[in-house]
Each structure stands twice: as structure tokens, then as C-alpha cells.
Amino acid sequence: MLYIKCPWCGERDETEYHYGGEAHIARPENPDELTDAEWAEYVFMRTNTKGVHRERWVHSDGCRRWFNVARNTVTNEIVAVYKAGEKLDLPDATAPVKAAAKASAKSPAPSEAKKPARKTAADKKEGA
């Protein structure tokens, strides 16, 4: 059972949370302007990361906040937790890197920058 640190309430058992899938997939602002393929990319397509995966969790039994977790899918090591709208710099998003695992609100991660469509509104707000 994972032990996840809610950014507000602190460390709690996995049973207090619900998993919300891959993080940083923003809802397109004008869905009508997207092709079927682009829309399907948003609705259905997800990465299947071996290594550090950024994902959303919600502290359902606690403060009901959604937040982000960077978790190594091989070892389940949690590299970092950070609030919705915050950024996480990881030099290599596929490798478990502990030293760089600090939440930063300044620059978007390189992998984010390449995929502007994959930022949530909350990300945009922070980035602005």
C-alpha cells in the first residue's frame, strides 16, 4: 500500500486517496476546432511510462484537494508531490532522479514545453 504525502494533510495511506490518471493533460479550450484524431488524443491516449510518471491523485477522505505525484512505476518510489498548477523540473522524466525532485513554480519542464496542449488551465495560470 502506497504512502502518499498530501501537500496539505501530510502522509496518509493510499486508501484515503483516489487515483486520477496521468497529470498535465489539459482540456482543450475549443474542442470544436480539433480534428477527431486530436480529440481522441486528448480523451483516450495516455503514456505508459516505465519510470517516473506524473499522475493526479485526490485526497478524497481528507482535504479533497487534487494534486500531482511523480511516481516511479517500477519501484513505486514517489519522487515528488506538488500542488495542482505547480511545476516539477525533472531532467529526465523517464529516470528516477531524486536530487532534482523539487517542485518549482517557475519554468515548465522540457517535456511540457513541447506539448502545450497538455497543460491544464491551472498550469497556464501559474505559467503566466
Binding site: 500500500m1 502506497l2 504512502y3 483516489h18 486520477g20 489539459a26 482540456r27 475549443n30 474542442p31 470544436d32 480539433l34 477527431d36 480529440w39 481522441a40 486528448y42 480523451v43 483516450f44 493526479r56 485526490v58 478524497s60 479533497r64 484537494r65 487534487w66 517500477v74 519501484t75 513505486n76 518510489e77 514517489i78 495542482a84 498548477g85 491544464t120 488551465a121 491551472a122 495560470k125
Partner: protein, 1006 residues
């Protein structure tokens, strides 16, 4: 019966305290401090069981949790427990035990005839023999296998004991209280950190309990006693004996199974939970789990009297029980010479050590020689004799590659073999923690290599077999673990000084040859004792293509018995490697999984063992009324909802028929408190609802209600409900009973991550309000009596509006919404007024013959109107259009969640499965929910399935059976006849509108 093999030297038994016990129907005496196994050894009893497949006689092999042979059924009656290891059962007065795997008795086993037919029982036997016909699987094959395998008997009675769980946190968790573990706990304890030290044994000391080591110039057990006393004096240290750490999970989550009362005897301490499972979260873990001695794989290595060397040493030193009269030590390493020396000192005849190595010139072999023990090197045991007890052995010189016998055989009479094939570190927990192992050629074993969690291994578990180094490692790891958890400076206290005798390397010969090729003669080389897997079986597996160790394991069942292969895994994979011509690391190990040793179901269930505490039962405020009035309950998630209220002599059908008619003709009352309710406030609340519902919300007047669908982005319906406008910026949303929590999380996800600028607050008020639905043509009259101050006329209080007022003397919100199609009011009052309101409705409704109805009648009534139930008529693959509800989609809105998916190719397909009604040709025949549908009566194979029945009921108001179904292209097929299939029965049904009753909607205004 006297204890013929008892000496005066056992350090941990008190011979003056006699304990009487019964084994396989015979009375024996043991001593305080004995295990069942040590007491049997002291009585000269080695035959304790029969093997799994061939029912060969088997003896006590070990002295610990790795025991594969001495598998016991303990006690009788409701407290009887199967498959316990005699090596771990502490003796208590009056203990009754018997062997599990023999019938009718261990001395005369009928199924031993299997041994004669053992050529049939080769690897893969089950898979090859019991394949067809499938119909015989459950009826013939499985009972037969179970009878033959005979793994004990479960009591039929309810378990009279209690079990519990305890959740604890610590900075440093030390698992294993041998020398390294004790040292680690001492070092960590001194830092002030919270330390837990647990061990599966009865007392602390680990391997020191069995041997005669010297620490700080004293017997090691004196050091153990002082270390334990020092730990006991520390308030920050928790010591758990009889506590088996059986699982190492993510993030240093460790489960420990503590046997709290078993050693007092069954039922002796009713006030205590018999077993406790401790759940630890540790900041740092130190694994000091020791090692298991490895058996040697030689011809007929399974006769009673053949024992692991160090276990024989333990029986002599610890329990004062000699393993036999005359024993031969068979080894490939130096450690077994200590055993020979100790046993000679204890009074047993050890004429001979047979050493597989060509040279044995270390200090220990030389000491053994000085004791008069003959040492034969470059040799092996190539045959054994004796059925129920070993009688003699044959030894011979063997080639240096271990492949064949090179010299003449020599016969030696003896009743005991003490064998040692080296040591396997107990890496089970390390491996469970996802730590990576490496194979060490010199030690011929797997060692911890790369940690995956915040953990350290020390001592024998790390391959550190010399005592001094183990003590030092423990001290260092304990201090560093404490430091890493924020306590102390990481400085290890000085380790005590142990006397260390240098040992020379072992020589791994994985299969000792005999006078015929392995598997071709009558002699068997056992690898997995409990599952009767031989070296020949593994070789066969390799020849049949099982090249992966995981395949070999499943094909031969090596390591799959209750001992989980603690003794057999490394031998098995070494034999596989040799057969494949690969190095051992290339073949690798199988995955280690919890539990380390078996854990009782009672312990896992804990307080939930009696069922009622296993999962919450959620009750509404009116639950007690429903119960008192004979309601039958239906679980809806964790909720217990009133299902129907049978009167005397009524079955379900009669009760539901009566309830259904009562509402349509008069007035009914339903407890709808379980519906999810969410308070939504903020200046952007209406705009938010516009995005999460398919219909339009901006212009909904204050005081009005609206029904809405929520979709996921794929355009599929996932929840529904009525939401009412309480104020300009204030809404009261309802959700389905099951969807309540998920909807709130989902709303928050959009608010917090997509639209954080929206000023909206969502708060769950599900249980603030208790909800009563009053419906039927007489509902208005009853409401007028309940709330004389309120105006219930259609003009003042029309359909889909809500009003606030005092009802039955308490404040209430009344919603005029209907899930039955009839005039209906939903009264919402504060939770603690729910029961009062219900009783008042029953009291004032008596003159209208008010009828309480349950969820079954609710389902019938809504189906008569064709109202869908999310999760029953839908399964996450229906758009609103599929449900025939295009009207609920606001054409004016440019965006809402799921809208874009409507124009996806698959979603706009005209021939999707669509919601329709079905009428059976025979009006009395009620379809089966889930029945598959076809367009034709007779179909090719496979039949083209075109849909399924989602809801089916008898409708008392229509005097006809009705059903709802998802049918491919159903909306275009109104009036057509299709066919429903239920386990061979075919029923002709007509596709109709799902609105069966009051199609013009004339009843909703009363």
C-alpha cells in the same frame, strides 16, 4: 513413554517441568521450552508425515519455519488448525496433534501405493492427466487430488477466537533478533528513535540459541540476555516475539503476524485476541532475517532420520534432544563440522563426516579429526536404506565435477544423516521490497544487491556468515538507520567480541550422483520435499521446454507448497541451470511473494472475522423503522436500503405488486435518503453547471429544479440527478446513491485543475438531509395535512419546483419531482428529523392507506415510465442519444463536457445500441436481466448478438411484463419482433417505446 534421546544439556528446556501431549494418538512427555518437534525428537519419533504425492514416510528435517515435512493438524473441534509446522508449535500441557498427510495413519498409509506407481507422478502430471473432460474437473479430479494430497482439515464450526490488527509507526524496524538484529536494535535504540524488533521465534537470539558461540568471553546466550535486558529497559523500543514479519510492501509498510496465545493452549486466554497482525510504517528498515541451511540433493535423501545439520545441532544444544544414536554428517562446507563436534560433545556417535570437497583442511575439520571423527573427502552419500527410519547409507568417492561415482561403495549403518549444502540467505523480505538480488559464486547463493526501499540488510541475510562481522554490521546499520530517520549521529556503538573460527569455501555439487543416472533407477533425489519434486522432474521440465524458472516452477510445482520453497528454490534452479547449460544468474530466481510463512485467515480478517465489521453497513435515519416493520433489505454499495415490506404470507412478488398498485392508486412513501447531495455556491455556479451538465442552466429560475445528465469526455453518460436553484448563486445537486463520492471528486477535479478561476464551492451535504418521497394521486392531500402553512396547488407549487417551509413541525425543503411518473413530493429534513418525519407521514397518511415501498417497487414504477437507472440500464457506453434523450442536450451551448465526442465517427453511428422497451409475446413471462438478444430466432454460430435486456419486471399496473433493453439500431426497429435468449430458452419479444405507462404524462400533476 520416556524421553530416550533427552540429554541434560539443553539450554532452553526445563526437564523438571514435564508436559504431556498426544501425537498421532499416542501419549508422550516433553519438557517446558520444547517445540512439538523437539519433544518428538527427544522421544525418538522422526516419522511425522507422508509426502504429498507418493506418500513416502517423512521425518523432521529442520527446526524452524522452513520445515517441509513435519506438517501438523493441531487440536480437534472448532479450534483445530491444519498445516502447522511442528518445529514452531510450542508444547503445552494436553496438546493433541496429528500428521496431516496420511490415511489412515502415519505408520500404515494406504495411499503409499502411489509410491509404487510413482513413475506416473512425474512433473506436469496434473496438467497432463486431468485435462478432459472438463465436466469431470470439479466432480472427480479435484476432490481426488485433494484427498490424495490431504492437506489437513478445516474445522466446520465457527472460529471461537478473536483476532485483531494494530497500526504502528516507527523510525527503525529491525526484522530478526539474531546477533545482527539485536546489535542493530541496540544501536538504533540508543539514539532515542522509535525502534521495533520482531522475531518469529519464541525468544530472541536467532542462531545463537542453537549453537555454542562465545561472545565477550562468555557463552553467547549471556550476551543475548544482557542485550534483551538493555532493550527492554528502553521506552522507545518495542519487542515482539512469536511475531513473523510476513510481508514487505511499498513504502516500508511491513505486516507482522504475532501469535499471542497459542502457546497457552486453545482457548486459554479468551480475553486476548489470539493472533494480531501489526501494520508498521517504518522510516528505515534493517533486515536481519538470517539464512536457511540448504539440503543436499542425493539419492533417497528423504528418509526419516535425515536432517539438516544445524537443526540437529539445535535439537542437541537448545533442547537437549539428540537426533539419533549414530549419525553421519554429509557436507560441502565447514559449518557442518561444528555440528559434528557439538553432537559428539552431547553424547551422540558421529563416526564419520562425508565431505564433497576434495580437501577439508580448515580449523573445524581438523578439530573434528582430533575428536576421533573420520573425515572422508571427495566423497558423497550415494544410497540410503530404511523405510520408516534410516538404517544405513552407502558412500563412495565421486568425480571432482560431481557427475559420477569413481570408487567402490562402502556401507555404514547409522540412523541419522546431518546434511549441509551451504546456506541460503533469507532474502524473501528483501526481495518482496523489490530489492534486486545477485548470485555469489563463492558462497553459492543469492545475496541482496540493490535496495529499492529505505532498507539495509545485515548479517547472514546479507551473506555475512561470521559472527563478529554480523555483530559489527548490525551495530553500524542500526546507528545509520536511526540517523537517516532523524535520530543520533550515526556512530555505531562498539560491537562485542566474538570468537571466530575461519571457514574455507564450500563446493557446490547440486546433484550427488548415484549408481544409476538420475531419474532412471529406483532412487529419488528430492529437491522439494513438501511437493515431492525430484531432480529428475526438473530435468524433465527442462527437456520439455520449461526454460524459464517461472515455467519450471509451475510445471513441477517446486516451491509452491506451504513452505514456499525455502529449502528447494536454489537447488531447483541450480539443477535447471545445469540442465540448460546456463549460469545460475542467467536463469535467475522466481519472485518471492508474501506471506513469508502461512498466516491464518482469522488473523488477516482481524476484527472483521464475524462479518458484521468487515465492511461498513450504512443506515439511514429511518433504518430502525424499516427493520421494525419487517422490511427486507437490499445492499446498494455500503447502504442497506429497504427492498420491500412483505406482509404476513406475502412473497416478494406479492409485496411488490401490492406496493406498486398502492402508489398508483393512493399514496406511497419511499426512503430516498441515500441519494447523493452536493451544495454548490458561488457567482460562477450556474456557468459551472452549464459545463458539467448537457442541458442549459443559466436561466433556471430560483425555486426551480432541473434533471440533468453528466457525461465523461467520451460523450458517455456517467451520472444523473435533479439539481435545484436555491438562490441566484446557490444550487442543490442530487446524484445517484452510488455515484455521490465519485461525482464530488470529479467536480472538484474540474474546478481545481481546469477552471481554478471559477468562483464555485462544492460541499457534500448528502447526510445533512434525509429524504422522503411521497408519491401517488393522494400525495397532495397528505402534504396539505403535513404542512398546513404551505400551498401545494399546481399553480403555487408546480412540477419541477421546490419550496421551503415547516413540515410536521420541522424545517424542510420540499421538491416536486417524480421518479414514478405520479404526483410526487420529496421532503428533505435534517438527518436527525428523518425518523420523526417518516412516523408523522405514516400517522397522517393512515387514512389514505399510505404504503411504504422499497427499492424494488421504485424500480418497477420507474420502468413503467421508461426512466433509466444509471448503472443498471447504462454501463458507461451510452450517449444521451443512445438513451433516446436528445432533448436533454442543449443545442445552444458551444461546449460542455463530452459534447465534442458526439460527432466522433463511432458515436454518431446510426446503428449503435439504443434504449428501447420490450414486450413479451406471452404477457405473463418476465425476461431475465442480462438476457442476450438476436434479430432472428435461429442463428448461426457464433450468433450475431444485437443487445441485451437491462431491466425486466412484472408490471402490476399494466398487468403485463415489461423490459428495457439496449438493442442495435433499436430506435429504427419499433414494432419489430426479436428474440431473447436465457440459457437455452428463447422468448419472442416486441420492440416498443420504453414509456409503457401514462405515455402522455397526465398523472404527474395528480
Amino acid at each position: 513413554m520416556t524421553e530416550k534421546f533427552r540429554t541434560s544439556q539443553g539450554t532452553r528446556v526445563d526437564r523438571s517441568k514435564v508436559i504431556n501431549f498426544t501425537f498421532n494418538g499416542k501419549a508422550y512427555r516433553g519438557a517446558e521450552g520444547d517445540t512439538l518437534a523437539s519433544a518428538l525428537v527427544a522421544n525418538g519419533v522422526h516419522l511425522v508425515g507422508r509426502s504429498f504425492k507418493t506418500h513416502r514416510p517423512r521425518g523432521i528435517l529442520t527446526c524452524g519455519s522452513e520445515e517441509p515435512n513435519a506438517i501438523i493438524q493441531l487440536e480437534t473441534g472448532p479450534r483445530s488448525e491444519p498445516n502447522l509446522r511442528a518445529t514452531q508449535i510450542e508444547l503445552y500441557e494436553g496438546l493433541i496433534a496429528k500428521s496431516v498427510n496420511c490415511w489412515p495413519s502415519v505408520n500404515f498409509d494406504v495411499l503409499a501405493v502411489n509410491g509404487l506407481a510413482s513413475r506416473l507422478f512425474v512433473a506436469g502430471f496434473y496438467y497432463k492427466t486431468f485435462m478432459d473432460p472438463k465436466s469431470m474437473w470439479m466432480t472427480v479430479y479435484e476432490p481426488m487430488i485433494r484427498r490424495m494430497a490431504g492437506l489437513g482439515v478445516l474445522p466446520r464450526e465457527k472460529d471461537p477466537d478473536t483476532y485483531d490488527h494494530m497500526n504502528e509507526f516507527c523510525e527503525v524496524m529491525v526484522i530478526g533478533a539474531g546477533p545482527a538484529g539485536l546489535a542493530a536494535a541496540l544501536a538504533a535504540g540508543k539514539s532515542g528513535a522509535r525502534v521495533v524488533l520482531c522475531d518469529e521465534q519464541v525468544e530472541f537470539g536467532g542462531s545463537l540459541l542453537n549453537s555454542k558461540e562465545i561472545i565477550d568471553g562468555r557463552p553467547a546466550l549471556e550476551w543475548v540476555a544482557s542485550a534483551v535486558a538493555e532493550l527492554e529497559a528502553m521506552d522507545n523500543v518495542r519487542l515482539l516475539k512469536r511475531a513473523n514479519a510476513f510481508g514487505y510492501y511499498d513504502h516500508n509498510y511491513i505486516t507482522v503476524h504475532e501469535r499471542r496465545t497459542d502457546h497457552f493452549g486453545p482457548g486459554a486466554k479468551p480475553e486476548l485476541a489470539r493472533h494480531r497482525v501489526w501494520h508498521f510504517r517504518a522510516k528505515q528498515v534493517v533486515l536481519a532475517t538470517g539464512s536457511h541451511e540448504r539440503p543436499l540433493v542425493f539419492a533417497d535423501n528423504d528418509r526419516p532420520g535425515i536432517m539438516l545439520a544445524a537443526s540437529g545441532q539445535a535439537y542437541a544444544n537448545r533442547y537437549g534432544a539428540l537426533p539419533g544414536k549414530r549419525g553421519v554428517v554429509f557436507t560441502n562446507n565447514d559449518s557442518a563440522y561444528k555440528v559434528a563436534i557439538d553432537l559428539v560433545d552431547a553424547g551422540m556417535a558421529i563416526p564419520l563426516v562425508v565431505d564433497l570437497r576434495e580437501v577439508a583442511d580448515g580449523e573445524l575439520p581438523n578439530t573434528a579429526r582430533q575428536k576421533g571423527i573420520e573425515v572422508v573427502t571427495g566423497a558423497g552419500i550415494v544410497a540410503t536404506e530404511g523405510r520408516k527410519r534410516l538404517k544405513a547409507i552407502e558412500i563412495a568417492q565421486i568425480s571432482s565435477d560431481g557427475e559420477k561415482i569413481t570408487g567402490a561403495k562402502r556401507r555404514i549403518e547409522c540412523d541419522t544423516i546431518l546434511m549441509s549444502g551451504g546456506w541460503n540467505p533469507a532474502v524473501h523480505l528483501f526481495s518482496q521490497s523489490i530489492g534486486k538480488l545477485r548470485y555469489d559464486e563463492e558462497k553459492a547463493c543469492f545475496l541482496p544487491n540493490i535496495s529499492s526501499q529505505k532498507e539495509r540488510t545485515v548479517g547472514a541475510c546479507k551473506g555475512t556468515f561470521d559472527l563478529q562481522s554480523a555483530l559489527e554490521e548490525g551495530m553500524t546499520a542500526g546507528a545509520l538507520a536511526a540517523q537517516d530517520s532523524g535520530f543520533g549521529k550515526g556512530k555505531a556503538p562498539a560491537a562485542p567480541k566474538a570468537v571466530v573460527v575461519a571457514e574455507k569455501p564450500l563446493k557446490a555439487i547440486w546433484v550427488v550422483p548415484t549408481d544409476h543416472p538420475v531419474g532412471q533407477g529406483p532412487r529419488k533425489h528430492f529437491v522439494d520435499y513438501q511437493h515431492d519434486v525430484t531432480a529428475a522432474d526438473i530435468m524433465l521440465a527442462a527437456r520439455e521446454g520449461m526454460h524459464s524458472v517461472e515455467h519450471m516452477k509451475r510445471f513441477t510445482t517446486t516451491g509452491m507448497a506451504t513452505d514456499q520453497g525455502k529449502l528447494s528454490n536454489v537447488n531447483g534452479l541450480a539443477i535447471l541451470s545445469a540442465q540448460l547449460g546456463k549460469a545460475i544468474p542467467q536463469v535467475g530466481t522466481t519472485t518471492f511473494r508474501p506471506p513469508y510463512t502461512p498466516v491464518t485467515f482469522g488473523a488477516l480478517a482481524g476484527r472483521g472475522i464475524n462479518g458484521d465489521l468487515a465492511d461498513p453497513v450504512r443506515r439511514t435515519p429511518m433504518y430502525s423503522w424499516h427493520l421494525e416493520h419487517g422490511a427486507t433489505f437490499e445492499p446498494v454499495g455500503q447502504w442497506q436500503r429497504a427492498w420491500y415490506y412483505p406482509k404476513a404470507g406475502e412473497d416478494m412478488h406479492a409485496a411488490v405488486t401490492r406496493e406498486s398498485k398502492a402508489l398508483r392508486d393512493g399514496v406511497g412513501i419511499l426512503d430516498a435518503s441515500t441519494l447523493g447531495k452536493i451544495d454548490i455556491q458561488g457567482k460562477d455556479a450556474a456557468q459551472f453547471l452549464n459545463m458539467i451538465y448537457t442541458n442549459a442552466w443559466l436561466k433556471l429560475p430560483v425555486g426551480s429544479c432541473r434533471y440533468g445528465f453528466m457525461l465523461k469526455e467520451d460523450g458517455m453518460v456517467f451520472d444523473d440527478g435533479v439539481t435545484s436553484r436555491l438562490g441566484e448563486n446557490h444550487f442543490h445537486m442530487t446524484t445517484t446513491t452510488g455515484g455521490a463520492a465519485g461525482v464530488l471528486d470529479w467536480l472538484e477535479e474540474y474546478l481545481q485543475t481546469e477552471w481554478p478561476d471559477l468562483e464555485v464551492y462544492c460541499t457534500s451535504v448528502t447526510e445533512e438531509w434525509s429524504t422522503l418521497s411521497i408519491g401517488g394521486p393522494k400525495a397532495r392531500a397528505l402534504m396539505e395535512e403535513l404542512a398546513p402553512e404551505m400551498d401545494f396547488s399546481n399553480e403555487a407549487f408546480p412540477f419541477m419546483t421546490w419550496r421551503e417551509g415547516e413540515v410536521a413541525g420541522v424545517p424542510a425543503r420540499v421538491f416536486r419531482i417524480s421518479f414514478t411518473g405520479d404526483l410526487s413530493y420529496e421532503i428533505n429534513v435534517r438527518n436527525w428529523h428523518g425518523l420523526h418525519m417518516w412516523e408523522k407521514c405514516m400517522e397522517l397518511g393512515a387514512k389514505y392507506d399510505i404504503t411504504p415501498y422499497g427499492t424494488e417497487t421504485m424500480h418497477v414504477l420507474r420502468a413503467e415510465k421508461g426512466f433509466v437507472i444509471i448503472g443498471q440500464d447504462t454501463d458507461g457506453t451510452q450517449t444521451p442519444q443512445d438513451l433516446g434523450m436528445d432533448w436533454i442536450i442543449a443545442k445552444s451551448k458551444s461546449d460542455f463536457i463530452g459534447r465534442r465526442s458526439f460527432v466522433r465517427e463511432d458515436t454518431k453511428r446510426p446503428d449503435r445500441k439504443q434504449l428501447v422497451g420490450l414486450m413479451t409475446e406471452n404477457p405473463k413471462e418476465v425476461l431475465t436481466e442480462g438476457a442476450q438478444l438476436t434479430y432472428e430466432r435461429v442463428n448461426p454460430t457464433p450468433a450475431p448478438m444485437v443487445g441485451h435486456v437491462t431491466s425486466a419486471y412484472w408490471s402490476p399496473n399494466l398487468d403485463h411484463s415489461i423490459a428495457m433493453a439496449m438493442v442495435k439500431d433499436g430506435h429504427n426497429r419499433m414494432g419489430q419482433w426479436i428474440y431473447a435468449h436465457d440459457r437455452g430458452k428463447v422468448t419472442k419479444v416486441k420492440i416498443v417505446s420504453p414509456v409503457f405507462y401514462d405515455q402522455k404524462g397526465e398523472r404527474r400533476d395528480g
